[in-house]
Symmetry: C2
Subunit: 282 residues, 2 copies
C-alpha cells in the first residue's frame, strides 16, 4: 500500500495507474474507519484495479459550534483497515494541503441542501461538495463509493456529479449495522455505555416507521410520530428531525411516493447520530 500526504503525490500515483490503463475506485472518508467504510472499500476493490481511500476530517463541513476538534481520529488503525481490505493508496492530506492560504472557492447547490441535515448544519454540504470535487479532480477515479447512511449526502453528490459533468460513476452502498440495529458511525465512539443503549431509539423509531409504511399507512404525520416516539421516550435523546422526503429531491413527500427516504437525526447527549431507510419503487 502506498501513502500520500500531498496533492502532488496522490495525483502522481493515481495518474501513473491511469496511464497503465488501470481503473481506480475512490472511497472518500473522514477516517476512524469502521466496517461500514470497509464494506465500501471491499466493493471498490471488487470493481476496480486500484483502490484509493482518502482520510480527511474536512474543516469546511463543520460549523463553528460543531465537533471538528472532537471528531475521532486514528490514522494508524485506518492504515491497518485499508491494508486488510485491499487498498492501494491511502491519501491523508492535512487541512493546509487542501485549503492553503487564500483559498476561497466552493461548490454548492440550492434546494437539495436545504432540508434534513442541511437545515441543521448549514455549512455541511458546501463543505462536502467542495472537498469531494477536489478529491475527484486530484484522483480522477472511474468510480467513487459512498455509504447510504448519509442518504442526503449521497443524493447531493449524485446531483453535483451530474450537474457539473464530473466524469465519475457514483455508487451508493447499504448501511452497515451492529447486531442490535445501531448504524455504524465514527461518532458512535463518543457514546458512553448508557448512551450506546439509548442510541437504539433511532433505529427503533425508523424500524417502526418502516413497519407502518409497509403495512399501508398513508398518513405522513402518523408515520413521523411513530418514528419520533422511541426517541422522544428516551431521556438521553433529543430529536433533531424525522422526515419523509422524495429520495432524489429531498422535498417533503407523501407516504406513497417512491423512492421514499425516511430519515432521522438525534442527539444522544452531545453526539449527533443519523440513520434512514429508502423504500424503492417495486
Amino acid at each position: 500500500m502506498e501513502f500520500a500526504k500531498t496533492v502532488e503525490a496522490a495525483r502522481r500515483q493515481a495518474g501513473a495507474w491511469k496511464t497503465e490503463g488501470c481503473t481506480i475506485g475512490l472511497v472518500p472518508t473522514m477516517g476512524y474507519l469502521h466496517d461500514g467504510h470497509a464494506s465500501l472499500i471491499r466493493r471498490a476493490a471488487a470493481d476496480n484495479d486500484k483502490v484509493v481511500v482518502s482520510v480527511f476530517v474536512n474543516p469546511m463541513q463543520f460549523g463553528v459550534s460543531e465537533d471538528l476538534a472532537e471528531y475521532p481520529r486514528d490514522i494508524e488503525r485506518d492504515g491497518d483497515v485499508c491494508r486488510q481490505n485491499g487498498v492501494h493508496l491511502l491519501f491523508s492530506p492535512d487541512a493546509g494541503e487542501l485549503y492553503p492560504d487564500g483559498f476561497c472557492s466552493f461548490v454548492d447547490m440550492s434546494g437539495l441542501t436545504d432540508a434534513l441535515c442541511g437545515r441543521s448544519r448549514p455549512a455541511l454540504f458546501r463543505g462536502v461538495c467542495t472537498v469531494v470535487a477536489k478529491l475527484f479532480h486530484i484522483i480522477q477515479p472511474h468510480t467513487a463509493y459512498f455509504g447510504q447512511k448519509d442518504a442526503q449526502q449521497l443524493a447531493i453528490i449524485r446531483r453535483m456529479t451530474a450537474d457539473l459533468n464530473l466524469p465519475v460513476n457514483i455508487v451508493g452502498c447499504p448501511v452497515v449495522r451492529e447486531p442490535d440495529g445501531l448504524a455504524l458511525s465514527s461518532r458512535n465512539k463518543h457514546l458512553n455505555p448508557a448512551e450506546r443503549k439509548a442510541a437504539l431509539c433511532l433505529s427503533a423509531g425508523l424500524a417502526e416507521g418502516r413497519r407502518l409504511l409497509e403495512n399501508g399507512e398513508t398518513d405522513v404525520r402518523r408515520i413521523k410520530a411513530a418514528v419520533r416516539a422511541p426517541m422522544e421516550a428516551e431521556p438521553l435523546a433529543r430529536v433533531d428531525y424525522a422526515e419523509l422526503v422524495d429520495a432524489d429531491g429531498m422535498r417533503p413527500a407523501a407516504a406513497a411516493h417512491r423512492p421514499l427516504l425516511c430519515a432521522a437525526a438525534v442527539f444522544i447527549g452531545a453526539t449527533r447520530l443519523i440513520d434512514n431507510f429508502i423504500l424503492d419503487a417495486e
Copy 2:
C-alpha cells in the same frame, strides 16, 4: 473540423484524442468570435495537438435585467473563424444541454468576485465558474485559454482552478485592440457610429491612467480621476467603475503595488464595455 452539440459527443471526441495521446487546448467563448478570440485559438493551436472551441451564451452569468437576449450570435460565422484558425472541434451546446431540468449546483467563490464587474453584475462569476468547471470536466483539456480583457474573470478562473485542484493549465492572452485603441468585444457590434466613436473614452482614460503611473504618480485618487475624466466628459458614456486593485486578489491597491490591475467599465448607451491594463513587477 468536428462539431458537437451534446455533452456526450464532445466528451467522446475529446476522450478519443486523449486516448491517442494528443494534448488538447480549450478556448471557452460565448461566440460571435472576433480577432481577440482568434488570437486565443491560434495560441491554443500552436501549443496543442488538438484545439476545442466552445460557443455557449451562458444564461447563468447574465442577471435578469442584463443583455442575454440581445447578446450577439452568429454560429455560421463562428464556424468559419474556427476553421480558418485551426480548430478541431467546435462544441456548441444549447442551454438545456448544459442546464437540464433540476440543475441546481454551482461553483462560486468569496472575495475575488465582490469587486469590479462582480459588484456590478452579481450573477456573473458564479455563472462563469460553473460553466467553465463544466467545460473542463467535459473536455478535460490540458490547457485552457482566456483573454486578459476580462482580467477579473481570468484571475477568478486561475483561483478556481488552483483551489479545486482542476488538472488544467490556465493561459491568459493579451487584449487585442482596433487600430484606434478600442478593445475587441462581441458587444462592440451594438454600437452605432456615434457610440463607436464615444467608446474610445474608455481606452483613452486607461491610457491616461497608465501614463500617470509610469510617470511615478502615487495618488490613487488622482489616477482614478484621470481614468474617469475622458469618460465623464463624453455625453454618451456613463462610468460603471474605474479602479486600481491588486491583480491577484482584486483588493483596492496602492499605485506602487505590483502586479497592479487598473480596470474600468463604462456604459455607452445601453452597451456595457470593459477594458484594463496590468502593470507587472519589473
